[in-house]
């Protein structure tokens, strides 16, 4: 983790004013994410219906060169423009959620969250230091939740549960990983049950 990222956490955790540079960085970061989302949606629609950028621009009454630009590079788009661009592709955003920044920063570093870091100001809860295997189990638990969305069921097959889908359509290695995750999750649940409230 870079010193700069640590300082971001420090500013957030201690309720300090966030410097302009940090705010600029995170603005640009969001612009990148929106652009990737729009571009991906456009490519999918293009594959499905042979939609051209010209047709797309006409649909939402925008200039073609602007649409090309918005799909290609991060821009400071207004919410109105984003809405038009999504509507023009006939797509809607899935449920928006959020993640504590501290979790991302510490996960990226592969380190546990230090015991003395109370992140009340960041995510309104106390985070305690976890042993690595507990952190792994937490990631595994999240992956397990994500897999049903990532897996494509065969046509006409109803998804009754994750394990069933995984067994039906995936190689043995993935089934083993899932089994391992389930075991870790059980261990995590046991640990949680034994933990005393802080």
């Amino acid at each position: 983790m870079s010193t700069f990222q640590t300082s971001i956490l420090h500013e957030i955790q201690h309720g300090k004013p966030i410097p302009l540079r940090t705010r600029l960085l995170y603005r640009r970061r969001l612009q990148h994410r929106i652009q990737r989302l729009l571009r991906k949606a456009f490519h999918e629609e293009q594959k499905r219906t042979d939609l051209t950028q010209k047709e797309y621009a006409e649909r939402i009454d925008k200039d073609k060169s602007k649409v090309n630009r918005w799909l290609s590079i991060p821009s400071n788009l207004t919410l109105e423009t984003i809405s038009d661009l999504l509507l023009g592709l006939g797509v809607d955003l899935d449920e928006l959620s959020f993640t504590p920044l501290a979790d991302l920063i510490y996960e990226a570093d592969g380190k546990t969250i230090p015991f003395d870091k109370t992140l009340n100001s960041l995510n309104n809860r106390v985070v305690v230091s976890n042993p690595p295997w507990v952190q792994f189990a937490a990631v595994a638990e999240r992956k397990e939740r994500e897999w049903p969305r990532m897996l494509k069921p065969a046509s006409g097959v109803a998804i009754s549960n994750t394990a069933e889908v995984v067994q039906q359509q995936n190689p043995p290695e993935l089934v083993n990983v899932l089994a391992d995750c389930s075991k870790k999750k059980t261990e995590l649940d046991d640990l949680r049950a034994r933990m005393e409230p802080i």
Binding site: N68, R69, I73, T99, E107
Partner: protein, 175 residues
């Protein structure tokens, strides 16, 4: 010594600085193949400044390092705006990185050492979006600078293996 060994040696000497990500990866991006980016001390100093231009460049470089989808091309003509493209001949292997949507735009130049490892040796060059203020960038001069700087640092040639963009970068969005 391998090219990786030489990069490390130049890094220890302070002639190259490894660019660290300015923010963490987004949730779900953990599986992306990371990339490495090295710059000269002068460029590193520019990136650390508080100018909006520099901050946007830092953010774009962070996306590059995280292995995010990257619009790149080995050709100079593109259907989409392009973040990275090779200048002219394959043999010279000089690449341009473009930081868009700011005024002025920025251009950085360098070479691939290996797949997903890029060394920026020249820049930033400012380029106005307005045609009235736009000056032609002297690419020949830039190529000379890049090639001579590379030769002063490394014994191996930069990566130059044809026109398949996937040889140079992972997770490409052809522009």
């Amino acid at each position: 010594m391998s090219i990786l060994g030489e990069i490390e040696a130049r890094w220890r000497e302070g002639r190259l600085i490894k660019v660290e990500p300015s923010y963490p990866r987004a949730r779900g991006a953990e599986t992306l193949e990371p990339r490495e980016l090295y710059v000269t001390p002068e460029i590193s100093e520019f990136l650390a400044s508080d100018r909006e231009l520099a901050v946007n460049a830092s953010a774009d470089f962070t996306e590059f390092i995280h292995g995010e989808r990257w619009e790149a091309s080995v050709y100079s003509v593109h259907e989409f705006y392009c973040r990275m493209s090779r200048l002219d001949k394959a043999g010279e292997a000089v690449w341009e990185i473009r930081v868009w949507d700011i005024e002025p735009q920025l251009r950085f130049y360098g070479h691939f050492a290996k797949r997903n490892i890029f060394i920026i040796l020249c820049g930033p060059i400012e380029k106005s979006r307005s045609r009235f203020f736009r000056r032609r960038i002297d690419h020949d001069r830039i190529k000379q600078i890049c090639i001579s700087t590379w030769r002063s640092m490394f014994s191996d040639d930069p990566l130059a293996e044809g026109d398949d963009i996937n040889v140079y970068l992972s997770n490409i969005d052809p522009a």
